[in-house]
């Protein structure tokens, strides 16, 4: 009896071959799903190494943190504007009539163990998520990673950025505190400002005139289901395209348009990226522990006739708020109708233009440069002066608009008249792109002809001889230093032509 059992076991072991139980399990899986070939290709997939490829990972992993902490919050949050009397552990609010949404937000912060940590982590993860998206997008833009064949992924990424901003605003609104409620009020007025359909749209979104009773439940379901589902689906598409089209890489030794050089998915990249997920989650938790964010119990509950000083949105809405502050009070009235341009232009048309520039940029650049080729090698930003200058111009415009959202705080802090700060910001906003463009363009032109530009300098080893003489010799390149091998990419013809037109080409050479 027992020897028979042992024999069967041995037979099974023999059947599994040299890879033991894992091999056996994989055989069973492959019989049913046929995964061996594709799985091996996936594990062998090569990921190029560069610190800037980490930016997208920060965005992805802060989204993971958002999902995890967000699920925790939904278990305690009540999406209702029904009134209740607060009798929680935060005594200054005791006995106040507040909405269920506000009361549950305060309660999950104070009465639920680890609740405050989860809420602060959620808020920090959101700010990091959108920040990482923007920086990642800048990296993709400045290095030309959006070029053929990756235009579709650029479009998906831009959509993801917009969805992230929208969902950030929706989530920020849910606690129904005084500051976020004012934000909702402003959002309603912005919808109202859209010509012809504005009032209808506003009434449909809010279920009637502001504030109504529907806005919190509707924002809730949008925030926790509909927009995250869209984001999740598009993140899936974003990553699928990335795997299908493979990574871009910077030019370097052995790297061509037709290969990928780096480390394999398993185990190297998997270890690094999983470790990085833990680091992102850890840093978010440390921020949640030590850096207070959005203390809604200090703001108090939202009441439509109350307001607080220095009302500012989260950072990613700052550029809109800044634009609303500095745009002049030009309202358009004619034929018995009004177009509130003082709102429509800065809050509807401006973001519309900016986001559409992002969407059409790949097509615009293709048309402009007549470059229809496939690109898997990245650009050095200085080798593309016009693109880099355009990107810096837009970023500086956005930065100035962001600063303009603090005009009152700046005026108070520096004891300046508000009027001077306002006009200063108006001038800076208009001027900044026109200064940033030529300055960046010039810097790029200069950098392109720098000898050894973009290469890492090797260390000098200084030795003293017996005679007391100092001799400096270049150290051998560090074995893992891939950047030392950076080669200049070919300068595209349209840039060389342009340098000729500038008349300065005679004094410099662009080929290294």
């Amino acid at each position: 009896m027992s020897s028979e059992v042992i024999n069967t076991k041995r037979a099974k072991q023999a059947a599994t071959g040299p890879y033991g139980k894992v091999g056996h399990a994989l055989n069973e899986l492959d019989d049913r799903l046929g995964v061996a070939k594709g799985g091996r290709t996936f594990l062998d997939k090569i990921f190029p190494d560069h610190w800037s490829f980490m930016l997208g990972e920060i965005a992805l992993y802060s989204f993971v943190v958002l999902l995890a902490t967000g699920v925790f919050l939904t278990l305690y949050y009540i999406p209702s504007t029904a009134l209740t009397t607060y009798h929680g552990s935060y005594l200054p609010l005791d006995g106040q009539r507040v909405t269920e949404a506000y009361a549950s937000s305060v309660n999950l912060s104070f009465a639920v163990r680890a609740g405050l940590l989860m809420r602060q982590m959620h808020h920090w993860a959101c700010d990091i998520f959108i920040g990482a998206i923007v920086v990642h997008m800048a990296r993709v833009f400045f290095t030309g990673a959006f070029r053929k064949p990756r235009e579709l992924n650029w479009t998906i990424g831009t959509t993801l950025m917009i969805l992230a901003i929208v969902n950030g605003f929706l989530g920020y609104s849910l606690p129904d505190d005084l500051v976020s409620g004012t934000g909702i009020r402003i959002a309603y007025s912005i919808i109202l400002s859209i010509p012809v359909v504005g009032s209808y749209l506003g009434f449909l979104v809010f279920g009637g005139n502001f504030p109504g009773t529907m806005v919190i439940p509707r924002f809730f379901i949008l925030h926790v289901l509909i927009v995250p589902a869209l984001i999740l689906g598009l993140v899936g598409a974003h990553l699928f395209l990335l795997v299908r089209q493979k990574h871009t890489q910077f030019p370097g030794k052995g790297r061509t348009e037709n290969n990928v050089v780096g480390t394999p998915m398993f185990p190297v990249f998997m270890a690094k990226t999983t470790g990085f997920l833990l680091v992102v989650a850890g840093v978010t938790a440390l921020l949640g522990a030590f850096a207070q964010i959005n203390p809604i119990w200090q703001f108090g509950p939202y009441e439509a006739s109350r307001i607080s000083y220095a009302v500012q949105p989260d950072w990613y809405m700052g550029f809109l708020d800044g634009a609303l502050r500095i745009w002049p009070s030009w309202s358009f009235h004619s034929f018995g109708y009004t177009i509130p341009l003082e709102v429509t232009v800065p809050a509807v048309i401006l973001p519309g233009i900016l986001f559409n520039i992002a969407y059409v940029w790949p097509a615009f650049e293709r048309k402009f440069t007549k470059d229809f080729a496939m690109h898997n090698l990245l650009d050095r930003p200085s080798n593309r002066p016009k693109r880099t200058a355009a990107g810096v111009a837009v970023l500086s415009l956005l930065s100035m608009l962001f600063i303009a959202s603090s005009t009152d705080v700046i005026a108070n802090f520096f004891h300046l008249p508000l009027n001077q700060v306002l006009w200063g910001m108006r001038i800076l906003v208009i001027l900044s792109p026109f200064v940033a463009y030529p300055v960046t363009w010039k810097i790029c032109q200069e950098l392109r002809v720098v000898e050894g530009g973009g290469k890492r300098k090797t260390t000098n080893v200084v030795t003293r001889t017996a005679q007391g003489e100092y001799v400096a010799t270049a150290a051998p390149a560090y074995v893992d230093d891939v950047h030392a091998e950076l080669e200049a990419s070919e300068v595209p013809t349209f840039i060389v032509d342009e340098t000729d037109e500038q008349g300065s080409a005679g004094t410099r050479t662009v080929d290294r």
């Binding site: 004012t182 009020r185 502001f210 850890g282 938790a285 439509a304 074995v479």
Partner: protein
Amino acid sequence: MSEHDESRTPVALSGLSANDPHLQPAARNPQLVERVIALCFLVGIILVIGFGACYWVNAKPWTLGATMGGGLFFLGVGLVAWGKYLMPRGPFVEERHTLANSEGDRDAFAAAIVERGGTVIKRRKMLGGLLGGGLGIFSIVAIFPLIRSLGPLPKSTLFHTDWRPGSFAVDITGRRVRKGDLAVGSIVTVYPEGFQDTDNGQAVDQTVLIRISNQDFTTQKGRETWGPAGYIAYSKLCTHLGCPVGLYEQQLQLLVCPCHQSMFNATNGAVPNFGPAPRPLPQLPLYIDADGYLRAQKDYGQPVGPGFWERS
């Protein structure tokens, strides 16, 4: 140096011998790195256990975050270092395969759509038209339950408030405001009686009542009777974006909106003299009844708050 160069050349992942330099760890001193990583993991484990302990004893929130964050951080740093310094250093190379298929495959794909599908649709144009029409009609009809049900039509909602002829002005607690209640230069937010607790009363009807000394005040044409005994009432909704105009600068007698710093001249019809607000705050006509109570003569007579298309 030449040995270095050899090992720096990217190679394919498969078919390498075990002692190939590409499969060696990147660290020059793997033993040391291993110890450092082990230390990271140990610190991480201690902190993660600490997280559990802090949760168990219900310690302060920051201790939860510090232990959890620190624990995840050290575990993560250790794992990244493991991957970076102790795993095969490469570099490895993988060829890209062109995504595009052969000309023949492309043509066959296009032919399948154009010829097979095309003939079917061309032959049965009427059926296709009917089906398309049906689905088109459905998508239009479906807009109504999907979109139209979301809310009522605005109609005239945006054009009036709950202030009626004779409405008593009450404060947030519902107390009626009398003639002697406000000192000169002071301000209170009032609502039409019965609406101070309602959403609409809070969001739409909110009105600032200011008592102004008469010599400062410029009476607007047609509003001679609207401010009895120096009591002036303006809509509290900023005409820019509808924030409450909640600040009153007593010296200059300016009403200030803290959202985008629009300022309205309280002594001169609440005309905006700074910021993005395009219109004066609408003024509510008041009268003082025989018992000394402040009451509204009538509604504002124009939409309060921010601009919109139908507003003339």
